[in-house]
């Protein structure tokens, strides 16, 4: 009943011909066109790089990866030298080492700053190279005074051009992966810089705060706004009741900060660690993810009903997910005319924030003014989202402070907490119960899968496990840029559950209907999909599309541990799907609508049901058409 629609892809690289290369005396057989760098890695030879990043198209500008290639007069950049015939390469001769040392010294000559006070001290690729190549003094000088203005005015990202080494990984990330182009290159020669348009602060730009640039920056030129001091101050303030919600994606990645291989979940150790840090309550964001699914699933059903039954042609379909704040701002800038397509549901972080300062505070006799709501997120755009003026339905900021995985790791280390060796413990009630559906929100396709599990079960009245083994709707999973899937609703539909009785009289109108859904991640992909919709292409016929700003979804977020690569993101995804599967094995709920805490919430607070007035007051929001004009003070 489910069909994946094949989408046109780039022609695959020519397969077939292989060539032999000898690298430092080691022979290796590789496909024709493989770069020297790739071939070297394949035979265990490590070549230093700076401008190379596995997610990006190589540009060969830093020249750190140069090697000797037999028959070539000059040193050749291994990242962009394709092997198409038998080749002999030497990667670490004295000539190569001497050139690299010169290049590193040159980079250091305009890299302004003190390693000891730097946010990337210990994780800086330039620092590592300097150590590896024996830099013991600044041969070509060192800039001691900054010459540029540091942009730390935004809620998410800090840009310090004085630390930039012009590897252009950020510029390429912003353009290639994200299709945003907030960062560009200006000037020429010694005056080349990475800048925004008209040197505007990033917060005044198209920048969507996704933080993908800073996840790929080798130095501290781009970093995330750090709120650890503010969190610590709150924890130390005896008048404050400090709660934290933790999202599934950082739980699947935090272990990397403590030496664990990617894909090692630390969810339950983290609960203990957070209590040791002094948090009064530790909640699971997946509760709010389940709540989002109910609200968003109902919104989808409503839109479908209006379009298919009431025949309202203006119904905004396909409906777009709204839980990725980078994606939301991307749409607000680039495609404001499509804002009606965005689900009005707040993101799980913000739903949770509202509930903490209303329902939770109320039930526990707390003054919401004294509640500090912290969120552990894989995301730096969540910092921006928390600062959005409209997200204050509790009368206060729904969420006060957003910590990235990296910030939390730093706090834990400062506290002497070795996360992997912490004892395990559960989340706190009343938001302690989660489902597997909430967990998979962290991976691209997860929101869609969670929504489908619930919608299919509510409509057919059958356990979704009878339709998909273990409720795994695998066609929407994976890492292809965009997946398009058709599902046909069976002819046999069930009764409308009481929760939805006010919404639709029956499901008969969905009998045999083919639902078309799609999943896209990375805003460069999102741009292609929305442009396709605008052009009336294949995605225009979709009913529901999940968009995630970051490649891989939340698990590849800008707040996650550095470095990132497709392999690392796949490993994190495995951890997330394993946690989902574990819910099933342990007999816990894997579907959002089965979450007992969510059910209780509808019984006690949201008594007018999903999509009802209370829900709309607390859990839904609106958007701002930001458009494409950048005000620079000039009129022309």
């Amino acid at each position: 009943m489910t069909t994946s629609i094949p989408l046109p892809t780039e022609a695959p690289a020519t397969v077939g011909a292989t060539v032999r290369a000898t690298i430092n005396g080691r022979e290796v057989e590789v496909g024709s066109g493989t770069t020297v760098l790739e071939a070297a890695h394949a035979c265990g030879v490590s070549i230093p790089t700076l401008c190379h990043h596995p997610d990006l198209i190589d540009v060969g500008v830093c020249r750190v990866c140069v090697v000797e290639v037999a028959g070539q007069k000059n040193l050749q950049p291994s990242c962009v030298f394709p092997i198409t015939e038998e080749l002999e390469v030497s990667t670490h001769t004295p000539r190569v080492a001497a050139a690299r040392r010169d290049i590193i010294d040159l980079l250091l000559s305009e890299h302004c700053g003190d390693c000891r006070t730097c946010a990337r001290n210990g994780t800086c690729e330039l620092q590592d190279l300097a150590a590896d190549y024996g830099v013991d003094h600044y041969r070509f000088g060192q800039r001691t005074e900054p010459v540029f203005v540091r942009d730390d005015t935004g809620p998410s990202i800090v840009f310090d051009p004085d630390k930039c080494i012009l590897c252009l990984r950020c510029v390429r990330t912003c353009a290639e992966l994200q299709g945003v182009w907030a960062l560009g290159v200006t000037g020429r020669g010694a005056g080349v810089r990475v800048t925004t348009f008209a040197d505007l602060p990033l917060s005044s730009e198209f920048c969507i705060n996704c933080g993908q640039c800073l996840n790929r920056c080798p130095t501290a030129a781009l970093t995330a706004v750090d709120v650890t001091a503010r969190v610590r101050a709150a924890l130390e303030d005896p008048r404050k009741h400090v709660v934290i919600q933790t999202a599934p994606a950082p739980r699947a990645a935090l272990g990397e900060e403590f030496g664990l291989p990617p894909g090692t979940p630390v969810t339950w150790q983290l609960n203990t660690a957070l209590r040791e840090l002094g948090f009064d309550k530790v909640f699971d964001t997946t509760f709010a993810a389940d709540l989002t699914i109910i609200e968003e699933g109902v919104e989808l059903i409503e839109r479908l009903y209006h379009a298919l039954v009431l025949g309202e042609p203006d119904t905004a379909l396909p409906m777009f997910t709204s839980c990725s704040p980078g994606w939301v701002k991307f749409l607000e800038h680039g495609f404001p005319e499509y804002l009606p397509h965005l689900s009005t549901c707040k993101s799980p972080q913000q739903m949770f924030g509202t509930l903490i300062k209303t329902w939770y505070a109320d039930r526990n006799g707390l003054d919401p003014a004294d509640v500090v709501s912290v969120a552990l997120m894989p995301c730096v755009a969540k910092k921006f989202e928390a600062s959005r003026p409209e997200l204050t339905d509790s009368g206060f900021a729904d969420v006060d402070l957003v910590l990235t995985a990296r910030e939390l790791a730093k706090m834990l280390r400062q506290q002497g907490i070795d996360l992997p060796s912490e004892p395990t413990s559960d989340f706190d009630d009343p938001f302690g119960t989660a489902t597997g559906s909430g967990v998979i929100f962290g991976a691209t396709g997860g929101v869609m899968e969670a929504a489908l599990r619930t919608v299919l079960e509510l409509v057919t009245g059958e356990p979704v496990e009878d339709l998909y083994a273990h409720a795994d709707i695998t066609p929407v999973r994976g890492f292809d840029d965009v997946r398009l899937v058709e599902l046909t609703i069976p002819d046999a539909v069930g009764p409308v559950p009481s929760l939805l009785a006010d919404l639709v009289p029956d499901w008969d109108w969905l009998r045999g209907v083919t639902l078309r859904v799609a999943v896209a991640h990375g805003t460069a992909t999102a741009r292609r999909v929305v442009e396709d919709i605008r052009a009336g292409g294949r995605f225009a016929g979709c009913h529901f599309i999940e968009f995630m700003a970051c490649p891989g979804g939340c698990l590849g977020g800008g707040g996650q541990p550095i470095p990132t690569s497709l392999e690392i993101r796949k490993a994190r995804a495995r951890a997330i799907y394993a946690e989902d599967a574990a819910y099933g094995k342990a007999g816990h709920a894997r579907k959002s609508h089965e979450n007992p805490a969510v059910q209780r919430l509808y019984a006690e607070l949201l008594t007018d049901g999903p999509g009802g007035a209370t829900s709309h007051r607390l859990l839904h929001t609106g958007y701002t058409a930001r458009g494409t004009f950048l005000p620079t003070g000039q009129k022309g």
Partner: protein, 394 residues
């Protein structure tokens, strides 16, 4: 005008080369050009015949191939392309047309540097005349199916756009940043299509080769550097201007011809060239010996070579595209080094570090600009040791 010797090119009968080429199959034209041994006259010296053959053999999925004339003559001290474009523009355009026939191109572009904007109208007139005469456009000279036209694109002030891949980037509306070596433009050049980029002078010689035969051309010059070469001689000489010599001419012969016999040193190749001391004036100008695109700047007695080095390095600091580390950051360091030499503050150890850096820039820069930018400085230290050593504090 500034032309000081009779030009062979001025004696080439208009359109004779093109008619000869159209009387042959494209493959025969490729062979003829190849047999002439002509190499790129912008300075890099790549075999023109090979370049054309590679472009003709490269698959062109949408049937498009391009001929680009590199009229971005920006090397300090070079005026020979300007002379050709103003005095003999037909020859250049005819050469492009022959190239188009040989490689199967339908589109031609003259990338004229912004500084030469004053040549544009003349070139446009020439193009219009050629179109009116059936030398451009559809079925050129009655050859069915041979459609080719040329348009002019103006640069906007960037020396690096003389590098052929930077030129292509500029033509595509981007920053003139050189591409990586692979794929070569003959495979994927302008708009991803097979493209040849040839220097103005190279293209101007093509009609002569087709009209008089490859043997004639190959019989001039040296075995590795065939044909006559246009050279621009400037600086401390009595008669500045454009000269034609066969390859193999010595530096001394150039000085004699131009009235610069008392030269202290000669810059061969412009800012990216080398500084030749008097003891080497018997050396030849050729791809094998001292290679140049055509810039000869004569430095008379009393000229401070460090002034020259400073001038050239200031040029490169400004004109580097700035994308690769050795060139972007190396040139400012060399410039500061030369200034410290002039101030008498550069130690011998420092000078050694600068030489090392210069060699790294030659070895590891991304394109020809960075690779050649330290040439003058290095040749100075290498060939004028005593003059430099005098400036080092004891």
């Amino acid at each position: 005008m500034t032309i000081r010797t009779p030009l062979t090119l001025a004696t080439v009968h208009p359109d004779k080369g093109l008619r000869a080429a159209l009387g042959q199959a494209p493959i025969e034209v490729l062979e003829e050009v190849d047999r002439s041994g002509i190499r790129g006259r912008g300075g890099a010296g790549f075999s023109t015949g090979l370049k054309w053959r590679l472009a003709s053999e490269a698959p062109a999925p949408d049937g498009r191939r391009h001929v680009v004339c590199n009229a971005d003559e920006g090397e300090p001290g070079t005026v020979k392309d300007r002379a050709l474009l103003s005095e003999l523009p037909d020859l250049v355009l005819e050469g492009m047309t022959i190239a188009a026939w040989a490689i199967g191109a339908n589109n031609g572009v003259v990338y004229l540097r912004g500084e030469y904007v004053y040549l544009r109208d003349g070139l446009e007139d020439c193009l219009a005349r050629r179109r009116a005469s059936g030398l451009l456009g559809h079925d050129i000279l009655g050859t069915p199916g041979f459609d080719f036209d040329i348009h002019i694109r103006l640069g906007s002030g960037a020396y690096v756009c003389g590098e052929e891949t930077a030129l292509l980037e500029s033509l595509e509306g981007r920053r003139g940043e050189p591409r990586n070596r692979f794929p070569y433009p003959v495979v994927r050049g302008l708009d991803q299509a097979p493209t040849i980029v040839n220097n103005v002078e190279t293209l101007a010689w093509v009609p002569a080769i087709m009209a008089r035969g490859a043997d004639w051309f190959a019989g001039i010059g040296t075995p590795g550097s065939t044909g006559p070469k246009l050279l621009s001689i400037s600086g401390d000489v009595a008669r500045r201007g454009v000269y034609e010599f066969p390859f193999g001419v010595t530096v001394r012969e150039l000085l004699e011809a131009s009235g610069g016999e008392d030269a202290h040193a000669v810059v061969v190749g412009g800012a990216c060239g080398v500084c030749v001391p008097a003891v080497d004036f018997a050396r030849e100008i050729s791809y094998e010996e001292i290679s140049t695109g055509g810039a000869i700047i004569v430095l008379g007695p009393g000229r401070d070579l460090l002034d020259v080095a400073e001038n050239f390095l200031e040029f490169f600091v400004d004109e580097s595209c700035g994308q690769c580390t050795p060139c972007r950051l190396g040139n400012p360091v060399l410039l500061e080094g030369v200034r410290s030499l002039r101030r008498g503050e550069c130690t011998a150890e420092r000078l050694g570090e600068l030489q090392h850096l210069g060699r790294t820039m030659q070895d590891a820069s991304k394109c020809g600009l960075g690779q050649t930018s330290p040439n003058f400085f290095l040749s100075l230290v290498d060939r004028f040791g005593p003059e430099i050593i005098d400036r080092i504090p004891v």
